[in-house]
Symmetry: C2
Subunit: 479 residues, 2 copies
Amino acid sequence: MAEDEGITVKKSENFSEWYIQAIIKSEFFDYGDISGTTIFRPEGYFIWERIHDYVDSLFKEAGVTNTYFPLLIPKKFLEKEKEHIEGFSPEVAWVTKAGQSKLEEELAIRPTSETIMYPAFSRWIRSWRDLPYRYNQWNNVIRWEFKHPTPLLRNREFLWNEGHSVFADEESANLEKDQILGIYEKTITDLLCLKGIKGQKTESEKFAGGLASFSFEFLLPDGKTVQGPDFHHDGTNFAKAFDITFLNREGEKTYVYQNTYAISTRMIGVLLAVHGDDKGLVVPPGLSRYEVVIVPIFNEKTKGEVLEYAFKIRDELRVKFRVYLDDRVEYTPGWKYNHWELKGIPVRIEIGAREVKSSKLTYVRRDTMEKGTLNATDVGNEIGNIIEMINANLLKRSTEFLYSHIKKTNEITQIRDIIAQGNIVQVHWCGSSACEDKIKEVSGGKSTNIPFDSSAGPDSICINCGNKAKFVVNFGRSY
Amino acid sequence: MAEDEGITVKKSENFSEWYIQAIIKSEFFDYGDISGTTIFRPEGYFIWERIHDYVDSLFKEAGVTNTYFPLLIPKKFLEKEKEHIEGFSPEVAWVTKAGQSKLEEELAIRPTSETIMYPAFSRWIRSWRDLPYRYNQWNNVIRWEFKHPTPLLRNREFLWNEGHSVFADEESANLEKDQILGIYEKTITDLLCLKGIKGQKTESEKFAGGLASFSFEFLLPDGKTVQGPDFHHDGTNFAKAFDITFLNREGEKTYVYQNTYAISTRMIGVLLAVHGDDKGLVVPPGLSRYEVVIVPIFNEKTKGEVLEYAFKIRDELRVKFRVYLDDRVEYTPGWKYNHWELKGIPVRIEIGAREVKSSKLTYVRRDTMEKGTLNATDVGNEIGNIIEMINANLLKRSTEFLYSHIKKTNEITQIRDIIAQGNIVQVHWCGSSACEDKIKEVSGGKSTNIPFDSSAGPDSICINCGNKAKFVVNFGRSY
């Protein structure tokens, strides 16, 4: 499809149409045949492989080990934790038949794996010697949402990590939070080149079955918020529902403390939505199948010298970078520029007879479309510097975009307009769910989180009831 | 459970009970709550991660890229290729409900992904410029078998790679076979330390919907055969069913040629079954979470010097190896020996006051249980050599086991007994399915494959009909 046409709408004028065209015409993704499912084509899946590898190696350094539990969950297990089943049952895909036979018990495709893992934890854990468990799995889950689906951002099937930890005491469980949120933050910042708002979810927005939830929240160009990676303290809730106990050093039967955490393929949608422009995707260098594409420009007469020089540059660069020399003769240089711009390749190098003669290269940065020349003598370091500048610029742009759209107000009457204009609104709040419900109703959105980097001053008052404010909390329209 | 007891049966006396005890008491795997599903605990899943990483990097070197297609397949797609649906439909798990709503169309959980991938291939592929596709995905599939399940070996859910290639012509499609079978063979030999029989499946045993299938076949200690990694030429079968065509260089509409290939978690069952012994698992070094475990032996007086020395050795070894110093005080050295033997750790190092004094180490090889001493001065290389010897010995043992159980005969009356005694039987065959059916009936098993390394001599005759033999073919009882 890339051959046929570029993107036909402006990102600023019609974000949702731009988003679909950008991810599909780039050939990174496609609609699955069932509504709400998405096909990950090679360059799209490459992004997830890079996120997987990066996060997985940080998890392993931190002492987390991977496991795999079955896809299907017996209905009776899913029903064991009351809030959990209430939260998930409307979205569960049910297997009721195998071959021609009706199953005796309906089986849920995991929407998340607590209820298939914890019966096993209950069998396995006997003594304080067995703890902690710091387990994780990378898998696919299904949540059959009935809202309007959007590829990656609101998908019925998605890929994720789900971390499941078991500790002997609350203190150890609490310590894990900063470590895991730190891993996610490093990934978001260094690899995805994104800025998110780190904070705690309110009671009404926390994980179904958990005690306290923490999240990174993102803002998309259309002014909608998206929840990114999250972390949940489950306390002893699931331990009690699934009877997960151990004998402590004193020989007493004790309930375990649990945490869970996740990052999903939804983040691919977020980063592509935030970084892209009217020409198509802008992929951060660490996530791009190629960091550099070389386009040679030649005629019959210059072909030999141009290609020789281009191959030499390619060979030098590929020691350090993922690089592709696009020497296909069936396409023109201009077609190739459009092609690789649509796919968001960070750096394009153009090599023609002029570059050969001067021992220089022409390059174009995808993030800014700035063009420059550089010496061929130190091309590895030069390109390395450019890539670092791209990383820094993408992070800077996404940070500025986010912070310029967080608007504070003390007037409840302004909330709706601020959000409708594509912002996150930040207000003071007493912490009561009655007030949250009221603000939610007025806002037309919902609370995203209580940001860690803001706190209610001693004299601040709740925007709804006027009582002393406990928190600063953000509201937005969400995906 | 490892604390409670070791394995209570001998492998040679009761293989199936031994197998279950070995993989469960080692805490590598456990039964899932739904019959036919298996839980991969950390050390068990580690084996799959290593196989995944090894195969995946060889695939990437060969030019294969990863993708992800949805889990659920609309019924109408699954039905498009007649032989394919006949082969798979008895084993399909069907999703019929989401939340409280009955779905309009039943959705299959993928038993394999041809029928969800190829409609997309049909949309995407337009021109010879788009080919080849060399796509792969690592995922989970469900085949709801009604035979008696065995963890890993006959599982209703398993993990695998599924490679799906699309070529413009038959010759290119044919060339891929040796490359992919070579990757699997290298993995089986170098990483799994196993020997398999490489060959072609007969017409009646080939992949449902394919033209020709190739496989590695393995023999388990109980005399049953298991099919390992396979490769299928699909020709234009699926191209015709799914209308996958392209315009060739002459502008003519042409059907594509396709291949598929897979290696699954079943291989973990095979390697653990073949290598293990009465003490428990024997894990090949490349697949073991720890290659070396150090057990310090000390009393109150020697504790300081022994641990200091043990930590020094640990730090030296961990530059090259995955090593664990088991300095837990709540367990005795004897308990630790049993514990790590059950888990099949390739090398145990024992360090006591005597070792400290002599600047030596005592080691025990898990594959042979041979004990020896080595100098602490060059411990990295010494252990490296021992690990190489373990790899070579495991491969040698599994090769000898396999070849000593391949029995040739020209007497059809002997086939049943040979197989019943735990062997693969190798016979000459004319190639007709009537004769294959007859041999199958007599044998009590079925054909495994037509080995590449044997061929029918010019004067050889079919064991059933007495006509000229075209092939040498193996029969066995299979899982």
